[in-house]
Subunit: 198 residues, 2 copies
């Protein structure tokens, strides 16, 4: 492959990233090529490094650079709580918020009959194993507040009944900064029925 | 740098690409990491390859993988025409349209007193050299139809007067698919004054 073809192929690969199309991929590649030493070379180095070291955590399914991820390996996070998320992106969102001090479990999706995703495609057996192996007392199902997310939450909760662990879902209500006038009916209904003393 | 830091640093570098922000960079990196063999590894390889070979064409300023780019090196494109563009992205746009069979000259910007870009910052002397060296008979100033672009076009045209070469600008008028009702006054004025027999 000569250099010009490599540039074309690089644009094609960039265009397949989520959030980029052919046009923005061209812009991005041109930007990289113009700032070769400051941008392109470090990016190439980082990609190579990450590509060599990255793998899924064998315990929780998080993205890791060792067999066990940093969160699962940290002793102070074994507090008996497991937060179940659909995807690694959701795990990252929880970690950014710095509100959860326990460990995670990545399901790898939600039940979705239309997309042919059944219980066997999710990491539910592994979750059951962890509950006894890690002396878990509390499971928090931090799934999306969508139909698929909530269906999955109910399914997982039922599957965990036999373990005797306490199972929670995230609270529903007004998001911070939300305006009453713009809330949908379901959110208002949840916010009212789960009202809190001030 | 351990693996987790490399992932964080990779997200930071991706977020600095035009068209991507922190959020879309995270999504893109997660996508790459999940599809390591199909996406991440080829992208890393291509970036490394391009990073090693890419450089500006010494003749026209196009991005090349040799001292002279493919267009300048192609004998059949020495037809006496040079198309002057502001940026490599514009050269790519012309090439995609496959409407120009001559060579290009990348100015590297437009005159812009506010941004402190003067004539010395543009590749105008080199353009003058090429006109005699390559027996150029026609220069087409394919600059943006903006104030900066047109100021630059007039400046370049005046600079080339002594060479005796014919200097053209791109036609102004209705773009293909344009609707009269949505055209601005300047476009309508140009389209009317440069009207063509049918």
């Amino acid at each position: 492959m000569d250099g010009q073809e490599a540039i074309e192929e690089l644009i094609a690969q960039m265009a397949r990233l989520p959030g980029l199309g052919p046009r923005s991929a061209r812009r991005a590649v041109l930007h990289l090529v113009k700032k070769r030493d400051a941008r392109l070379v470090p990016l190439a180095r980082l990609l190579t490094e990450v590509g060599q070291s990255v793998r899924p955590c064998l315990n929780c399914g998080n993205i890791a650079t060792a067999d066990i991820c940093g969160i699962c390996a940290a002793g102070d996070r074994a507090n008996g709580q497991i937060c179940v998320v659909e995807d690694v992106a959701d795990l990252w969102a929880m970690e950014r918020a710095q509100v959860f001090k326990g460990r995670y479990h990545v399901l790898g999706g939600t039940l979705s009959p239309l997309d042919d995703v059944g219980p066997d495609d999710l990491a539910i057996p592994k979750l059951r194993d962890r509950i006894s192996a890690e002396a878990v007392t509390e499971v928090i199902l931090a799934l999306n507040a969508t139909v698929d997310g909530q269906t999955t939450a109910h399914y997982v909760a039922r599957e965990l009944e036999a373990t005797g662990v306490q199972v929670f879902g995230l609270a529903r209500g007004m998001p911070v900064g939300g305006e009453l006038d713009y809330m949908d009916d379901g959110t208002l209904r949840a916010a009212l029925s789960q009202r809190q003393p001030i």
